[in-house]
Symmetry: C2
Subunit: 325 residues, 2 copies
């Protein structure tokens, strides 16, 4: 099942079911008004949503209209919580070199996860506004999960039962502000402006075997100004989503609607390219002695889409332009 | 005007107006169903809420019942965002000594603010559950503000117009987990479990001159097991709430319902005691060569109340017990 949130003038938007091929959509508001309503009452509403989805996919839903990603907000425009990991260690190793981070003895054992801002999550298309293009504007292509309520103390092997939906993410970052915030120890705030999401959140079964071991085993295509710079695969995620959930729930419960990100999808194989500019720049520095690729500026366009082997994009497409705001 | 959220089985609870003396309360659900509804539509609903408050305070509200803090959730049980500063530099200096933090050259110029979890904010009374009493269970007595929508780039001198309500906070902390999370640079996650709030959120005018310069100039009484350990005054806050808001809004807009905390209220005068145990312990270490006061364990009771000069507690009382969960 695929779900989207259409803009309707409210902060939480309107829940729609989208067909598997992303061609058609139908309002689900008679079942659950919003995505957060659906997540909170999942067991009660899931059968009716699934039946609507089945009718839509069978071409038997009379109220279906063409799916319009331009009407999409983030699946959860305002989530109770947004947590973002750095679970691809190849990314972490490169970033430690890029920013000359101090040695972390727990690097392979304890996941790094930051608490992000969940009050203003952004949709897939259109401009992203930043105050200054001297701040090192960068993207980070990621996968993520949306959770049901997770009790405190949930262990990794039991955690995946709390995954309700899968999402695809662009974690916008301001690299000029990150190192100072990391050194100060309180984590990212100014360095992590609003995060953007692909239009469609999907149930794990939509990916078949490509959702397994608590990982999304898909290729993530990343383009800057229509040039592909990344095609890394999700399989190299060192910590599974189950391990990440368990880490977050160690000392408190997590509320339904919590979104948990993988961190930048990154592969050790250099042929896979990079899902963020900082990685590209540090690889250039290591290989060629200097970083050539600039951070983003006004008008630059970022496109990200996860790909199934048949070429389809199960989450739809993130296609955003950097704008002065 | 004083507002509270009563438990009604839903996640966001039910909005009530509370009398100035905290003796009577009346449902406000005919005006706004929940606190977040009221914050989001403040200009539209404020006149009716104020009129209800005026009738309640005048003893002319026939549907008033005795105010029951035992029915209170946090004013915003689930906020769009929870940001917490460390704006009392005396606290910051002591904590840097306690945890041997590296030198921060921007200490007096750039506020330290962490992004906290806002999905599960807790009410004022009853047990707080923790997984293990070996994790350095500690409290932090704070003040805070609840904001309207704040545009990106809002400056400090214009920021205070976005303050809708004032709150009093217990920012529960697990000290054994903080240093590793600070060193790793991604900020607090396991070290900051769910945060608790005094029962009543109040409009700034309720404090008269004790809300000025973007600071709450009240004494915060803090007790552990009925022994007063802190009575610091909010006036020593180095960065005003206006400065803190501007810092948070530098690179993104903030959504209505964002809660911003002051950090632990702390005074240079040792006679003021401390609003958290870590401060007590580092002062003992400096003065006596060893920390005597233990962190909290099962059954320990924490009480916090801000005091007006007439002895009244404008936010009501936080009174929680540490429980194994």
């Amino acid at each position: 099942m695929k779900l989207a949130t259409y803009h309707d003038g409210t902060r939480d938007g309107q829940l729609w079911v989208v067909s598997r091929d992303l061609n058609r959509a139908v309002p689900a508001t008679a079942i659950a008004g919003t995505m957060i309503d659906a997540i909170e009452t999942w067991d009660a509403v899931h059968p009716a949503l699934q039946a609507l989805s089945d009718r839509l996919n069978a071409g038997q839903e009379p109220f279906a209209t063409p799916f319009d990603a331009g009407r999409c907000l983030a699946p959860l425009p305002r989530a109770p919580q947004w947590l973002d990991a750095s679970a691809f260690l190849n990314h972490g190793r490169l970033m430690d070199k890029a920013f000359d981070n101090p040695h972390n003895p727990d690097f392979e054992k304890i996941p790094l996860i930051y608490q992000g801002a969940s009050d203003d999550l952004r949709g897939p298309l259109g401009p992203m506004h930043f105050p200054d293009d001297g701040l090192g504007i960068d993207m980070e292509g990621e996968f993520g999960v949306i959770l049901s309520d997770v009790p405190m103390g949930t262990q990794a092997d039991a955690a995946l039962q709390h995954v309700r939906l899968l999402v695809q993410i662009n974690d916008w970052s301001l690299r000029a502000l990150g190192p100072r915030e990391m050194r100060a120890g309180f984590g990212f705030l100014q360095a992590k402006p609003s995060t953007a999401f692909a239009p469609v959140a999907i149930t794990p079964d939509e990916l078949g075997d490509y959702w397994s071991d608590g990982r999304i085993h898909l290729r993530l295509d990343v383009e800057i100004n229509e040039r592909n710079v990344g095609r890394a695969i999700g399989s190299e995620m060192h910590f599974s989503f189950g391990q990440l959930i368990a880490h977050c729930a160690r000392t408190r419960r997590l509320s339904a609607g919590t979104i948990l990100g993988s961190g930048t999808v990154s592969n050790a194989d250099r042929e896979a390219g990079s899902s963020c500019i900082s990685e590209i720049r540090v690889i250039e520095l290591l290989d060629e002695g200097a970083s050539r690729t600039p951070f983003l500026t006004w008008g630059d366009r970022i496109r990200m889409e996860a790909r199934m082997p048949d070429g389809s994009a199960p989450f739809g497409i993130i296609d955003q332009t950097v704008a002065k705001g």
